[in-house]
Amino acid sequence: MTSRPTPYALRATALGKRFGRRGAWALRDCSFRLPAGRVCAVVGPNGAGKSTLLALAAGLTTPSEGEVIVLGTDPASARARVGYVAQDKPLYPQLTVAETLRLGADLNPGHWDPSVAEAVVRAGELAPGSRIRSLSGGQRTRVALALALGKRPELLLLDEPMADLDPLARHELMGTLMAQAAQYGTTIVMSSHVVAELEDSCDHLLLVGGGRVRLAGEIDELTEAHARVSASAETADLTGHTVVESRTTGRQLTALIRPDGPLPAEWRTASPTLEELVLAYLRNPRAASLTPAEPADRAGTTTKAGTGNATADTGAAA
């Protein structure tokens, strides 16, 4: 099944999910757009709704409100073009590694690439005859990733894919994922609560906290849209800028802000790292979210446009 390429791999509009009619909302009022071909990190604390978001995108559960469009269609119709690895890496314990790969080949006729799947398994030195039941958590992750990659999906949804892996396997599999993205233009969405491991590989960020999207956009632009400033507490006036976090120690004011206009020359400013940015937003749940409903359409270009101000404006307009 092929369809015309859509600029967005994922598009959520006021997406919400709660379990049970009167249950708590796992995800609410979640709107974002993820351009195709991106490697997107879904970051957030435990229980933030990351898994729910990925399961909704994979068409495994339906939203309680709003909608999510996957590869230009509804999640159920897109299922054949989407790869998904759940957090606990479910596999049939009674099958062997080889049988599991044969299952993938059998169930995905027409778009199964045995070489990718086998390469992932081979790199882990897994015996084809060993039963899934006997594998360690990290080895199971490897087989689950092999299944998802062998399907050669257009969109790959990975829920905490690296959690069980040792650093070496993590590096190797991340490399495989990046190669997949580079070679086939696969959009990869992976959730994690370890921000540092995503900074090098991901170019797009979705920060989920308290069931809502707090930050969404290209990582470069998000960090550029923010500034870490320090200035004298007596003279500094942050009015007009969006303050994410500010702290006064003695006569020194340090803050993470979204500048709205040029900053005074006497302030010391620096670009925050991704981790600083994420932590600042997570520490301050009431800081205004930055979730441009429509980031500038750059899906086909590589020019790095969009200054911090422009992004902030789009956010405010939305």
Partner: protein
């Protein structure tokens, strides 16, 4: 982005073409049987053992028991008096065991269907694995229900036929042989057991889909199947017009079979329930009670042996209708929870996308100006 560190195909070869419908079905079926291979073996073993027991029962055991009964009855006539009691007891035991086993089959099917077939897959997430590996939820459920339904129908069908055969072989020859309307024998002898087993499959599957966990689904499937059996038992006598026989007081109530209603006929011809007969009158055959109630005879509304097949077939039909309802509910439930029927929203989404793009374009122009 990190460099290419993993071996990757530079030019993947031609991939196999998508198979047609029958090929896909055969493939799904093959994997279902592979994944539930132990269950398949257990079911096959169960059917073979029970079938062997029923064949043994119908042949050697019934013959031996019948011979023993003939010898025993000869004792009454004052002739040679020795009979082989073990043969009588062995027949009774094997008959009871096989009948109870056949009665238990629908519950076994329900427990397995709720726990292993559906509940465990949803609990462990392997169902999600299948759904994201090219098997749509609806096909997943269809194969999961259809293949076991065929095997359950074939297995229980064979066994009830053998049970009926064994029962018939002893009928009139073995004095302790169960009557056709005996609670367990009635169902073990006919297709209602097949219907009950399929209802068990449906109840279990639905419980699994509702709970999404193995253990509660197992319990719910069992309870639901027990309820179905009790209801089917209660309903059965009312699914076919019963016969009424009226007998004079002197002859006592007449007719043997499944009782629907019984009582006395008064002098006006009215049918009323049996009056309460106190113990001191019961020793005299309740004559005073009947005289006081103005009884001139008894009536008995019941199903004679001739109604066996109509009762069996109507009850089976009702059970199959229930299976159909359970199946429809299961598919609806799964479709709703996985968005199988979400196609209608596509156009709305596309419209919003267009509108969103226009708004963004307008915004960009505004910023530029």
């Amino acid at each position: 982005m990190s460099a290419l560190t993993s071996p990757l195909p530079t030019a993947p070869g031609p991939l196999p073409a998508a198979p047609g419908r029958p090929a896909a079905l055969a493939r799904d079926l093959r994997w279902l049987l592979r994944l539930h291979r132990p269950t398949l073996y257990v079911w096959a073993a169960l059917v073979v053992v029970l079938a062997a027991a029923l064949l043994w029962l119908a042949g050697p055991l019934t013959d031996a028991s019948a011979d023993a009964w003939r010898d025993y009855n000869a004792c009454r006539d004052g002739g040679r008096c020795s009979y082989y009691q073990d043969a009588i007891l062995r027949y009774k035991d094997v008959y009871s065991y096989t009948t109870v086993a056949l009665t238990a089959l629908p519950f076994l099917v329900a427990a397995w269907s709720g726990a292993a077939l559906i509940g465990r897959e949803l609990e462990s997430g392997t169902a999600h694995l299948a759904w994201t590996q090219g098997v749509s939820p609806a096909r997943w459920l269809a194969v999961k229900l259809a293949a076991p339904a065929v095997l359950v129908t074939a297995g229980t069908g064979l066994l009830v036929w053998l049970h009926h055969r064994a029962w018939s072989a002893a009928h009139g020859r073995v004095d302790t042989a169960k009557s056709w309307y005996d609670g367990l024998t009635l169902h073990a002898n006919g297709p209602t057991t097949v219907g009950l087993a399929l209802a068990g499959l449906g109840c279990g599957a639905l419980a699994g889909l509702l709970w999404r966990r193995a253990l509660p689904a197992l319990a719910t499937g069992l309870v639901a199947t027990a309820a179905v059996r009790v209801l089917a038992d209660r309903l059965m006598p009312h699914l076919w017009a019963a016969d009424t026989v009226v007998t004079p007081l002197s002859r006592g109530p007449g007719g043997v079979g499944i009782t629907v209603d019984e009582g006395i006929v008064t002098s006006t011809g009215a049918h009323v329930p049996l009056p309460h007969c106190p113990p001191e009158d019961a020793v005299h055959g309740c004559t005073a009670t009947y005289a006081e109630a103005d009884a001139v005879g008894f009536f008995h509304t019941y199903h004679p042996a001739a109604h066996y097949w109509p009762l069996q077939l109507t009850t089976t039909a009702v059970l199959l209708a229930l299976v159909a309802v359970l199946t429809v509910i299961a598919f609806r439930l799964l479709g709703r929870s996985t968005g199988g029927a979400a196609r209608g929203r596509r156009t709305a989404g596309a419209g919003q996308e267009r509108q969103g793009r226009r708004t963004a374009a307008a915004r960009r122009t505004g910023v530029a100006a």
